[in-house]
Structures are given as C-alpha cells and as structure tokens.
C-alpha cells in the first residue's frame, strides 16, 4: 500500500479492506448511479472494477482529500464514457462524497455522464473524444521528468481506442522519449459500439504489437485481482527504460451474470426492475 493514510476519516478506513471488497464496492456504486439515470455504461464499469480497485487501492500514490497534490500519481481517464466507473472508484477512495451518487448525470452534478476535468475532483483530463488520453499522458510524463518527479502517469484506455491513429503516435513517442514513468492500461472487453472490437480494427496479438513498438507489455485476466496486482507491481518495478502497458482482458458486466449474458452490452439495456435485481445478486457475494 502506498496510499497516504493520514487525515482520513475513521468512517472510511483504507487499510485492512481487501481489493476484492473494493472492487465489489466500485461495482455496487456504479449500479447505484446507473439506477439514478435508468441507464449508463454500467457494463464497462462492472468489467473494469477490478482494474480500478487495484489502481486506486494498491498502485496509486494519492491523497484523497487533496486531489491536486503535486506528489500524486496521475490517473487519466481517456475513455470519458467510463466516468461512471471512475466516479465509483473515486467515491470508494473517498475523493468524492458518497452522498453525491444520487446526483449522477443530473443538472449541477459534479458527476456528468462523460468525464470532464473541470467538473470533478480527481478527474485529471477531459476524456471522451477517444484516442486523446495517451498523447496527453506522454506530455505529462515528459513534464514530470522535467520537474524531476518520480510519479507515474497511468492512462486508462479502451480496446476501441486502439483504432485511433493518435494512439499509435503516442505509443511511438513514449518509446522515443523512454517514458518509464508511463503505464498504459488497456481495458480489453472486445466490445465497441457496433460490435466486437476484434471484428473492427484490433485483430488479436495485442501484447506482441506493443512489444514491437518498444513497450514492456503484459496481458492479464483483468478480472483476476491477484494477476492484476502482480502485473501492476511488475510494470512499476520493471528495470527497462521504456513505457509499460497492461492489457487487461475483462468481461463486460462482470459480477452480474444475467447482464453478462446479454448479447449486445456496449450500452447495456437494463430494465427498471432489473437494477434492484442486479444489486441483490451483487450483495449475495460480498467479499471479505
């Protein structure tokens, strides 16, 4: 654990809570937000919850109540539509107050449906126009090196963003500048708006592709917390001078089997009465 634990309220202890329990908490909060609007990218949130749990409760250095603290690791959400997932993680990490869940996507909320830097504490960039995050991360990583800082820049992107040419401009640049302080997380759920990502522009063999571009690449089951912890540790401690990528193969709607089974779940349709049912299923398996 590298989190700063001082000055945290006792009601939200950060120690002695398992990562599995954190992931469960992120899933639960995302579903609660989805219920507020009756819709949302909850499939992605459920799928990426384990990656976010390991990011925020194992890997990242941060101060929950000081989101602009210079010493923090930067965590960029390139995929703006995953905001529902990041809000859940930020609430779980005590960066955002839990009672704002009911405002998700509402007028004057700090949690708009697409993530924007000016709205939300802990939201580093305005995402949403896909293929932007990694390039910005390159600039931040260069900036941190200029300042002599030892912080990491994490960029969370989706498999669909592998189709954007700008992603590959940034991939090449990170190697060119030897950005060993840059860790890219690819949430590979193989679902984009019109269907499977692999049927569109990202055909298999992802890790070798990144390796060929000079990255230290790992491919893991993104819903296996132990595997994620090992991969994050390896990415951070890797002795090489190049950038690092963790391709996280995740399952859309993970943790709610009747949603996992939905054929088209990029923007998963959840009926009004199903939110309660989904939460009940989640609550049947509360991790220790």
């Amino acid at each position: 654990m590298s989190q700063e634990t001082a000055a945290l309220p006792s009601s939200n202890p950060r120690l002695n809570v398992s990562l599995a329990r954190r992931a469960w908490g992120i899933r639960r909060k995302a579903l609660q937000m989805g219920e507020v609007q009756g819709q949302g990218y909850v499939g992605q949130a459920l799928g990426v919850a384990d990656v976010l749990a390991v990011s925020y409760f194992h890997a990242l250095t941060l101060r929950a109540r000081d989101p602009e603290w210079e010493g923090r690791d930067r965590f960029l959400l390139s995929i703006g539509h995953y905001a529902i997932a990041l809000y859940a993680a930020l609430i779980e990490a005590d960066v955002l107050p839990e009672n704002e869940i009911a405002t998700y996507g509402m007028d004057d909320s700090r949690m708009p449906m697409s993530g924007m830097a000016s709205y939300t504490p802990g939201m580093e960039i305005t995402g949403g126009s896909l293929g932007h995050g990694l390039g910005i991360a390159v600039g931040m990583a260069l900036g941190l090196k200029r300042k002599g800082g030892d912080q990491f820049v994490y960029n969370l992107m989706s498999d669909g963003e592998l189709g954007e040419g700008s992603t590959w401009e940034a991939v090449m640049s990170a190697t060119q500048w030897q950005l060993d302080n840059l860790i890219c997380l690819v949430d590979f759920n193989n679902q984009q708006a019109d269907g499977p990502t692999r049927a569109a522009l990202a055909v298999g063999a992802e890790a070798p592709k990144w390796e060929a571009f000079g990255w230290f690449a790992q491919e893991v089951d993104g819903n296996d917390i132990d595997a994620l912890v090992a991969a994050f540790d390896a990415a951070r401690s890797h002795a090489g001078k190049g950038p690092r990528v963790i391709i996280c193969n995740t399952l859309m709607c993970k943790g709610v089997p009747f949603l996992e089974a939905r054929e088209s779940n990029h923007f998963v349709r959840v009926e009004a009465d199903e939110w309660t049912k989904a939460l009940e299923i989640l609550d049947q398996g509360v991790p220790a």
Partner: protein
Amino acid sequence: MTALARARKYEPRKVPEVKVATSAMIASLAAEGYDTVSAPFGHALNAAAKDDPRIVGLSADLAKYTDLHIFAQENPDRFYQMGMAEQLLMSAAAGLAHEGFIPFATTYSVFASRRAYDFICMAIAEENLPVKIVCGLPGLTTGYGPSHQASEDLAIFRGLPNLTIIDPCDAADVTQMVPAMIAHDGPVYARLLRGKVANVIPRYKPDYRFELGRAQMIREGGDVLVVSSGIMTMRALDAAERLAKDGVDVAVLHCPTIKPLDSETILREAGKGRLLVTAENHTVVGGLGEAVAGTLLRAGVTPTFRQIGLPDQFLEAGALPTLHDMYGLSTEKVADQIKSWL
C-alpha cells in the same frame, strides 16, 4: 473537358513563358522595400525563455520552418521534437501544460487547423490550458497549392471557445506578441511570419506597440477605413500611399487580434461615415471580414461595407506574387479594388 482533366491528359504543349522563378514553399515573404528582421519569433522566444523556466518548445518536424530551431539551438533540453505527428504534438503540449509548463507548439497552419483540430479543441481549449500554437504558412503565403495553403484557418479556429487568435503584420508584431501570449493565461493560436520578416508598422507609427486584444489606427484618413490584419495591413498601408497620390485619403486600422475582436475600436471608427473595407489574408468566409460584419450588424452600425480576401475556392499553385495578384491581395489590386468602390 475541365482544365484539370486537360492538364492530366498527356499531350505536348507549348511551354509557358517563365514569369516568376519560384513557387518554393518556404521562401520568406518579399519585404517589398521594408527593412527586415531575421527569425523574430525564435529570438523573441529565446528572450522570454531566459527568465521563464516554464517555457518549452515542441514541433512536429517543422522546427526549422517555424523559426523554432532558434529556440532549440539555445535551449536544447527544453525542446521536444515530436516527429511527424500533429495529434500527438497538441496532446503532449496539453500534458506539459497540465504539469505547469507553457508549451509553444509549432507546425504549419494547415496541419494545426485541419489535422489536429479535435486535439486542440478537447485537450487544450476545453481545459483552457496555456498552450501557444504558432503556425507557419498562414493564409496564402506559399505557392505550394491547397495542401499547404491555410486559406481557412481563421474560420476553423474562430468557432473555438477560449482560444485567442493573433494575425501579426510584421516583425514588430511577431516580436511583441510572444511576451503577450505568455502573459495571457490561456490557449493562443498565432499565425507566424518566418525567415526574414519585414518591419512595416514602425515606419508609419514609430511608437507602435502590439497589445493583445487591441486594434490600433496606424494611418488616419477621411475617405476610406480599411480594417486589416496580418500581412494585409502592410498591403493596405502601401495601397494607401498610392491612393493618396490620387487624392484618396485612406485610414488603416490594424486588427492583429482576430479573437477576441476589439469591437469598441472598430465600432467607434466605423461610425465616422467612411467606406469600410476589410482586408485579410484568408478566405472571405468566416475570417476577419465576417467577424467585423457581425460586430457592425449587431451594433446597428452600417457603413458601406466591402471585403478584400481570398475567394471561396481551392487556390492555385504558382509563385506567390502571381497568386497575390490573381486573388486580389497585392498592393496594386488592393488599391484598384478600393478605387472601384468609391
């Protein structure tokens, strides 16, 4: 058969008489009788960078052609060669700005405005980051054809909230706009004049100082008011000298900040009963002319209004003086047009 189709069909043709030697892409704009300053942007940036460690420079393989190489030579550790990748150039500049730096990102106007627009919009402007985008070959300043002629860059960028837009006339403007851009806490797009750049305005107004957001009267005159920006202020001043010999008294209001426009000065000067002519090195669609027209109409000030600018079409390749004459931007053609409207 269209002209293009004819040209593409192989058949022997009479070789045209060579009128002007070159359509080279990067030739300095002809100084036309003015003193010149070499690479004013690069030198101004060096001067500013001496006292300000926040300044860094980035280019997408066009440092040499945007005078940023002057900065790179003096500050090698503060210069980032990003390669031929304009989307990355803008994103990385945004990332550096997030970390407290003031990045100057250079490329050609066509590539910034057309290729990297979404990145300037979302990574830079939406977050109001202090990235300074400085671009060569604005408007019609190369004979290379539409791939390099940014005839619509102002139209593209004017719609972007938060973005300040500068169209300098000469070496004085370029030199003085640099510290003004740094002092402005937000994103800026500046059109660049590079190489040997004419020193125009000081000849007419020795005490001239560039001020961000301010239009300034360079020449007084009772018959015509020309509102101009960029190199068209030079052409307007030169045309005014010619027209003076014919007894036509032309005022020139130089408006180097395209956005935000100095509406107050424009409205005050437009209300004095003179023919109002806008002159811009840009298509007549969506640039200075239409910005001024909108300002006038919204305020209910309606002088006789005429526009000098590039036509709404893809421009031809050729030597720059030929093209400026063809499209009405040369001094002679500016004078002719004004005369025809009197």
